[in-house]
Assembly symmetry: C2
Homo-oligomer: 367 residues x 2
DNA sequence: AGGATTCTTGCAACCGGTTGCAAGAGCGAG
DNA sequence: CTCGCTCTTGCAACCGGTTGCAAGAATCCT
């Protein structure tokens, strides 16, 4: 496999060989210069006389030369690759975040190496380890669940950016999402429409985002002098399926509710389906509101009211924060703010006698 | 930046230093052996005596040693990384495909390096070039539009797997999707429900998948002795927005139709919204059928009838085909077959007097 | 027991770019 | 015309694993 020790690399032929890319030294020989000169021309490290430059450039074109990334990475000690840990690459939420990350990295010549944690902490852990082993220049953990301690430990071997929590450590930067604030926004909207019995479907119970959103829900209830009823909280799984199940549980409990706040949009999609199956209309019988404002929420039937937190923007900012860390600068970025987007899945409480002034809702959508 | 020439690498301290990973030689010194021995133990290349093995393993643990991927890649001539070109990472379609690819690669220790072509041929081209420059061991072009000639040219420098077309060249493998067959399935289903005026919303016009699905649509019409009417074909963009626009155009043309076949599920989502806006009910006024059977189609209102072509499975098979190519074997895989999944967005033609026997539709969903 | 095998292990030369150092070329000033 | 300066360019030593080769140790054979 090794062993290739051509004394004079095929002196007779000079064209590029298929499937075997040229090396710096081959190009150098062709142009009659040394390898270092070629390297310097490619990287623009120092000035090179015009004649040589032209000759070298011709040789580069002739052999279609591309510097070997592994060799360059080895010499420079960096790979221009950032590891990204998501939970699932197929998921509107992570998809949008990854798009933002990719866009943010590409601007400066970096590329993301993406791995999926499959919602399992052990997998997430394995991902980070494998990414480090692959020599990435940094790791972005997007909405992950790894413990703070683990993250701090990993930050010792590679810069880390983490979204969805607040954590301070050297070479680690965190972007905190306004989970509680967004949840408060959602519940206030429902209260404003006259709802008093507002159910909540949470995500997996120990996820930091879920905990915070529950907190925001409680705060908004307190604000409106509504007692918090734990029986109006059901547990989903961040996916449609969990939304269906949780909604059916809530309905089965016979506890009346006229509005439903879901921990994320996908859960809300499931909730809408479950309500439809039970012959309940959204928003006439039950108002439903989500969180994230996924792109597809605009196109749901009915279009979903949601709390917008631009995931794409969050991804892009994570990427920039990471590039700052890599360059040794201290990032100065925060997560984008949250914002209520009112569409057609929420409406006035049908129970109240008094007419609630209808919220302004655009005719087609409110993009 | 280089210059580091520690005569004796910090002989006093011996613990791992933060941010600076240990090298093979450091581990070797700690264990009192040579670097080659450590390498051989790690890779299991040859037998090593038990005592040394234990000492080395202890040293590896002590320094938390992970071999540098760049160096290994340089020495071995491969990176265990496969480049993947998608159009958009945030897109249920590509998301599912990428998940399959990741799963298929991970099984054998490979990881995907994903880049987005953003639906632009030039970007797609740039992606392939950058991936090659990064030294990936192969490139999977997932549902791309690069010309056959370009692909063949690239296959000279790196193995290539391409989905969605049929192409033969050395070190290139293609997985052909049954686009036409799937489209025929969809239209036959509609015909079976009594529909005769069946509209079609295509994707971007020059995309191979779109062309093939149109062909299948025409074939099924011919089969049922229905004349093909080009005015019943509208152009979308593979996304919800295009589905909305195309549907509004079809409705504005005043040409009656009772069923609508959409080139993919996202287009169908948009179509459903547009119909809803115009006060038309799916499936009572118009039947809608999609293509792809995205996971979220199960949770639409109403759940969408679609032609299932397991994208995830396609991704996984692409990955396996690529690994075959890399290993020098000839892949023997084909794309997964298509299959009709009947849900609730299609129903009997409301216009026909005769009652059409209702298709069997499960109560909740037909996963 | 002596010689022939086989096994273990280290040395050193790779893989392909990068870069400090110094030699040589080119140029201006005295 | 010579000295000293700057600019261009090549040499060689890295980066950190891998592996052919051969020396030495261990094992087996007659």
């Amino acid at each position: 496999m090794k062993k290739s020790k051509f004394p004079a690399p095929t002196p007779g032929k000079s064209g590029p060989r298929p499937g075997q890319s040229a090396t710096l030294r081959i190009v150098a020989r062709e142009a009659g210069v040394s390898a270092s000169t070629v390297s310097r021309i490619i990287n623009g490290t120092v000035n090179v006389s015009d004649g040589l430059k032209r000759a070298v450039e011709a040789a580069i074109v002739k052999f279609d030369f591309r510097p070997n990334a592994a060799a360059r990475g080895l010499a420079l000690g960096r790979t221009s690759t950032i590891g990204v840990v998501a939970q699932a690459i197929d998921s509107p939420f992570y998809g949008e975040g990854l798009r933002g990350i990719e866009a943010g990295l590409r601007q400066r010549g970096y590329a993301p190496l993406i791995m999926s944690g499959n919602w399992r902490i052990e997998d997430e852990d394995r991902c980070v380890q494998e990414l480090i082993a692959r020599g990435v220049d940094g790791v972005i953990v997007f909405a992950g669940r790894l413990s703070d301690a683990k993250l701090k430990a990993y930050a010792k071997s590679v810069p880390i950016v983490i979204t969805g929590r607040s954590l301070r450590a050297p070479r680690l930067y965190s972007l905190l999402i306004e989970d509680a604030g967004g949840a408060t926004l959602a519940v206030r909207h429902l209260v404003g429409l006259g709802h008093r019995q507002i159910a909540f479907i949470t995500g997996s119970e120990n996820h930091p985002d879920a905990i915070e959103r529950l907190r925001g829900y409680k705060e908004a209830l307190a604000e409106a002098d509504i007692d918090f009823n734990p029986k109006l909280v059901a547990v989903g799984d961040w996916h449609e399926e969990g939304g269906v199940r949780a909604t059916l549980e809530l309905l089965a409990s016979k506890l009346p509710f006229t509005a439903l706040f879901c921990v994320n949009d996908q859960t809300a999609y499931g909730a809408c389906l479950a309500l439809y199956r039970q012959g309940l209309s959204v928003p006439h019988d039950v108002s439903v509101i989500g969180f994230d404002d996924l792109p597809s929420s605009t196109y749901r039937l009915p279009p979903l009211t949601s709390v917008r937190q631009s995931i794409g923007e969050l991804g892009e900012r994570s990427a920039h924060a990471m590039l700052d860390l890599v360059a040794g600068r201290r990032p100065r970025l925060v997560a984008p703010g949250v914002e209520l987007v009112v569409r057609e899945s929420t409406g006035p409480n049908p129970g109240t006698g008094r007419k609630v002034p209808s919220a302004k809702r655009p005719a087609h959508d409110s993009k």
